[in-house]
């Protein structure tokens, strides 16, 4: 620290402002060397696929002449989007996705928030141990979590379902009416602890003086939660909600892995599954690209829309 302090004075004495500016111009080249490797990879593996998808989605393979000629790559503009959006299967998938979002997002945010706040009361034994247990599923791949919950959703291997049926409750988690909740439960199990940790970090950064002031004002625990903690961790709640929305729109792995266990999940259950199916089962990359772009546009629109709604209510959450 002392070395740094003396350096400033030495720098001021030795170099005039013009000298410093000349050197900083030279450093722009160096800055590019730091930034360029990542940027090139980012362009290749994030930006290029998106551009490729957008371009590919406006083409189709069509036979020339009366249908007897060779297949040709023809520009069809929005035809693939029309085809995707007018397909009943894809529409059903979109509807299911919105319903899933509606179930999963509040469930996730409320669970993560409640767990973080309960552990933050400072009145529990072993808070770090509980945090570790809740966070642990984050290290389990979605595929493996789904395989495990799959066993717990089948009466012959599930101790939970066996216990419930002994109590007279006959629950079928993989029935068409329940399957979205069954999937929501897997996502909740995987990510609630992670989101709880994000909120816990925000709670920990609240200065203790604020709590002391509140205690002097005789604020109870509920008042602290509603008037101090929740308003102060609002940016993190917004962040968690945003990432949960984006995560739910990607729904793919869980239904794919559960699908052999139930007839309630078909190959176009979610838009992503429909895109995968179009690309590899039907060999129609252009329709698949159109479906992928539709999901990306929805994700983007919902992210922006959510942030707009949050910011309109008068606080600078973002």
């Amino acid at each position: 620290m002392t070395a740094a302090a003396t350096a400033i004075t030495a720098d001021d004495v030795l170099h005039g402002p013009t000298d410093a500016r000349r050197r900083s111009n030279k450093r722009i080249g160096v800055a590019l060397l730091f930034v360029l490797p990542f940027t090139l990879m980012f362009l290749a593996f994030y930006v290029a696929p998106i551009i490729y998808a957008i371009v590919d989605s406006t083409f189709a393979m069509k036979s020339s002449g009366l249908g007897f000629g060779p297949q040709q790559h023809v520009f069809v503009f929005l035809d693939n989007y029309m085809a995707a959006l007018s397909s009943p299967d894809f529409q059903a998938g979109l509807g299911r996705l919105f319903l899933f979002c509606l179930i999963e997002v509040p469930l996730m945010v409320v669970t993560a928030g409640v767990l973080a706040l309960l552990l933050d009361t400072g009145k529990t034994l072993w808070p770090r141990g509980f945090r570790v247990i809740y966070f642990m599923p984050y290290g389990v791949p979605g595929v493996i979590a789904t395989l495990l919950w799959g066993f717990l959703y089948i009466p012959s291997t599930s101790p939970v379902l066996q216990g419930l049926s002994r109590a007279g409750i006959d629950l079928q988690p993989l029935d068409s009416g329940n399957v979205l909740f069954a999937i929501a439960n897997i996502s909740l199990w995987l990510y609630a602890g992670y989101n709880m940790i994000v909120l816990t970090a925000a709670l920990n950064s609240i200065p203790t003086e604020i709590y002391e002031a509140a205690r002097i004002d005789r604020a109870g625990e509920w008042a602290m939660v509603w008037r101090i903690k929740l308003p102060l961790i609002r940016p993190s709640i917004v962040l968690v909600t945003l990432f949960t929305i984006i995560g739910t729109l990607q729904l793919f792995v869980e239904p794919l892995v559960l699908s052999p266990l139930t007839t309630a999940i078909n190959s176009t259950f979610t838009p992503n599954m429909a895109a995968y199916n179009a690309a590899f089962a039907k060999n129609n990359s252009s329709v698949a690209a159109a479906m992928a772009v539709i999901v990306a546009v929805i994700a983007f629109a919902m992210s922006i829309g959510f942030l707009k709604i949050v910011n309109r209510k008068g606080s600078e959450a973002w």
């Binding site: 722009i28 990542f38 101790p159």
Partner: protein, 289 residues
């Protein structure tokens, strides 16, 4: 006893200690249930898996036999899958950490034209669903004959926009005076980054590494789309391959369960061992308001 009760009552009329403990224990049971189930299931034969109480041992535990079957089945495929996962996650996360740290440092500590626009473009990358990228990437890599190779999974895994975000926040905390002092002492820009800057943000780099490691390890769609040769599969893809063969031979149930248990224990062990490093990243996300 009395004084404890009154002190609790004074500070928190809304939170009875007992109800709090019950809620936390119920949540813990929920999060532990599948883990306990799979650990117990990995000690059972396929018959016992379906016939015995899922939350207790069978009469004839055979964990050792199951584990040895997991590692010998299909010519030792499981070991290859674990090694592949370690390769994809380890190498991918290492390169991703270096690229993201250099980029975040460059954005934080230098001025150049369009740097805020570049940063926002990268942040927008965080918002793009990974599944949206994977399909077009398959067709793109197909045109350069990379599909089906190790590179098709490794190269995309080396890009972490979230890492750039974390690196920029942490690099911004490096005092400019330190960098200026090093310059006066004659250190070049590269040397300053390699031997001074990176040392000051090691916790952030470890966090980026861990995030990316877990992300790659858990990734399913990318290898599913890119790979067809079982010898290049990561462990997630390999286990679903086994899962698809349970109709043919019920023993694959036990192989899937035991394989899941083994890979879970390994990754949770790594994660818990490096637990304290998670916090640096989480806090950074939280304080950016």
């Amino acid at each position: 006893m009395v004084s404890a009760a009154t002190s609790v009552g004074r500070h928190s009329p809304g939170f009875p200690r007992f109800a709090l403990a019950v809620a936390l224990v119920i949540a813990a049971v929920y999060f532990l249930l599948p883990v306990v189930w799979v650990l117990l299931a990995s000690t059972k034969s396929p018959g016992d898996l379906f016939a015995t109480n899922g939350l207790w041992f069978s009469d004839a535990p055979q964990l050792g036999y199951n584990i040895s079957r997991v590692f010998t089945e299909s010519g030792g495929a499981f070991g290859v899958w674990v090694a592949n996962s370690v390769l994809y996650s380890g190498v991918g996360a290492l390169v991703a950490t270096l690229l993201a740290t250099a980029c975040g440092y460059g954005i934080a500590k230098y001025d150049f034209f369009g740097k805020e626009q570049l940063f926002w473009l990268i942040l927008a990358g965080v918002l793009v669903p990974a599944t949206v990228i994977a399909l077009p990437l398959y067709f793109l890599l197909n045109t350069v004959n990379l599909v089906g190779t190790y590179w098709s999974v490794l190269l995309p895994s080396m890009v972490s926009p979230f890492g750039v975000y974390l690196a920029r926040i942490h690099a911004a905390t490096i005092p400019d005076e330190v960098i200026e002092a090093a310059r006066i002492d004659g250190a070049g820009e590269g040397r300053i980054f390699a031997s001074i800057a990176t040392r000051m943000i090691v916790p952030a780099m470890v966090t980026i590494f861990l995030f990316q490691f877990v992300t790659i390890w858990n990734n399913y769609l990318l290898p599913l789309v890119m790979l067809s040769d079982g010898a290049k599969f990561p462990v997630t893809l390999g286990l679903t391959l086994w899962n698809s063969q349970t109709q043919r031979d019920p023993y694959f149930y036990t192989l899937v369960v035991t394989g899941s248990a083994v890979s879970m224990v390994v990754l949770i062990g790594v994660m818990m061992g490096l637990q304290r490093f998670w916090r640096a990243g989480m806090t950074a996300g939280a304080t950016k308001g």
